[in-house]
Amino acid sequence: MSSTAKSLQHAPAAKVVPLNAPAKAAEPVEASTPAPSAAPSAAASSRLARLAAVTKRRALNALPPVLAVGALLGVWELLCAAPDATLPPPSRVVSETWELIVDPFFDRGGIDKGLFWHIYASIKRVALGYFLAAIGGIGLGVLIGSSKWATRALDPIFQVLRTIPPLAWLPLSLAAFRDGQPSAIFVIFITAIWPIIINTAVGIRNIPQDYQNVAKVLRLNRGEYFVSIMLPAAAPFIFTGLRIGVGLSWLAIVAAEMLIGGTGIGFFIWDSWNSSRISDIILALLYVGIVGMLLDRAIAVLGRIVTRGTAST
């Protein structure tokens, strides 16, 4: 059946082209002989003009942020130019941290490592804690989104727990785990899980009745309903939660690492402060910001790929 449908659809089109092509092509070639000398140059110049237009538009788009950053650096340079300024101006930040900027990969043992290794350690902690939060958050979100009893039982608990600042969990988790590493991961987990739970639950509750009716008519069982209807229908909401969660995790990790020590960008900042290396702190802050933005973008892009087409029709 499929092959006949296909051949019916494509065969005529494929045959028509070669049959008609020579007959039709013969005429235009003669008619357009005088044109070729003018045509290519016109085409080339129009392409060039279009390229110029695109370049110009890109340049205009790039101009405002460049100007803003330039102005910011200028003001900063002026404000910190005085000899008794407490913070270094940007020029001194660059000169003092040049070694860290050009070689982020050195490792002289202990905590004396390049910035890449500190950020890598932080990302590893965030990845693990966030991964656990995603699993647990989606699971609990599905539970309270699909069961009124679970909502009534768990919602008050969640409403209280989610307002606790991430760092307030740290002493308790240190007491429980007796080690910095799992404590930091737990803090990430407990920070990221709330928005994931809440958004997932909202997404599950908002599944249109129509989809549920389709599932009922088809007699989908629970597992099939979960995979074919529930997850895809709630995916846009789940990704909203995941995106908020990753931002919060990155906020929490820096603070947690300042307290647990070892490696990590948070510890690096605290260590720099203790050694009065203010320029190092400023460089590290810039990196923290850039990595945070990249994490946010990564989840956003992932969400766009996964939820492609799930927007309602």
């Binding site: 499929s2 449908a5 989809y211 087409g309």
Partner: protein, 266 residues
């Protein structure tokens, strides 16, 4: 023969929403449908037509009374009573093909091989001329096309009865006419038993063997039944002046607009 004459039996169905003494929607509705018959249910908005359809589908339980399809009592929804929903209800993250395939896989997963299921999916898309657009997402096709896919999905379940809930309601007049002709042709070819909800008189007369007219709610019931003894295939343009067609149309219009005028709309 006896079983086929009473293929669908709706017996003394009552429906009230809310607790005892709550608003009564349907009162004492009884109807039998022959196998292969096309029955329309017509009535004013809010009279409970969709509720009746949902009871037959099993999506809404009746407060009292029974529904039997092919001598089996209806207690829950199932693919033997496929519904074409008013707003198509396609899953937007699946392609046209996948939407139909989901139903085919679920219902015939144990009975057909993978290739057979693929062919069966395509054959149903072919019935509604959606093979070419099979890889498009519902968001990329028109309302009429979506409804065609909804019909293909319902047909692919090989239902005992096809339930159409105002299937053409959201479409423009030209698309609607085209789709009505298509549904008429398909149901003649396949011999489906069809129950259709509508509020469009021409549509009901054109498509149906019988038109069931519901009185106004609350507590709607069957007010009258109009047989449409027109030969098939029916051609829209030829029917315009056909005396049987005109007579049926007048009878239904009279019922709706004289005897059971929708008071609130005035």
């Amino acid at each position: 023969m006896e079983a086929n004459d009473r293929y669908v039996q709706i017996e003394n169905v009552h429906k009230s929403f809310g607790s005892a003494g709550g608003s009564e929607v349907l009162r004492d509705v009884s109807l039998t449908v022959r196998k292969g018959e096309f029955v329309s249910i017509i009535g004013h908005s809010g009279c409970g037509k969709s509720t009746l359809l949902n009871i037959v589908a099993g999506l809404t339980p009746a407060t009292s009374g029974n529904v039997f399809v092919d001598n089996r009592q209806v207690v829950e929804p199932g693919p033997d009573r496929a519904v074409v929903f008013q707003n198509h209800s396609l899953l937007p993250w699946l392609s046209v093909y996948q939407n139909v395939r989901l139903a085919v896989d679920k219902i015939f997963g144990g009975m057909m091989s993978k290739d057979e299921r693929h062919d069966w999916t395509l054959r149903n898309l072919e019935l509604v001329s959606m093979v070419e657009a099979r890889n498009k997402k519902p968001g990329e096709i028109s309302g009429g096309m979506k409804q065609r896919v909804g019909i293909a999905r319902a047909l692919s379940m090989k239902p005992k009865i096809l339930l159409l809930d105002e299937p053409f309601g959201a479409l423009d007049a030209l698309t609607r006419a085209h789709l009505q002709d298509r549904v008429m042709q398909i149901s003649m070819e396949l011999g489906n038993t069809v129950m259709m909800i509508t509020h469009d008189v021409e549509e009901a007369v054109l498509l149906s063997d019988r038109i069931v007219m519901l009185t106004n709610g609350p507590a709607a019931t069957i007010g009258s039944i109009c047989e449409v003894p027109l030969e098939r295939p029916r051609l829209r343009l030829e029917l315009i002046s056909d005396p049987t067609y005109v007579g049926c149309r007048a009878a239904v219009l009279e019922f709706l607009h004289k005897r059971h005028r929708f008071v609130d709309a005035a």
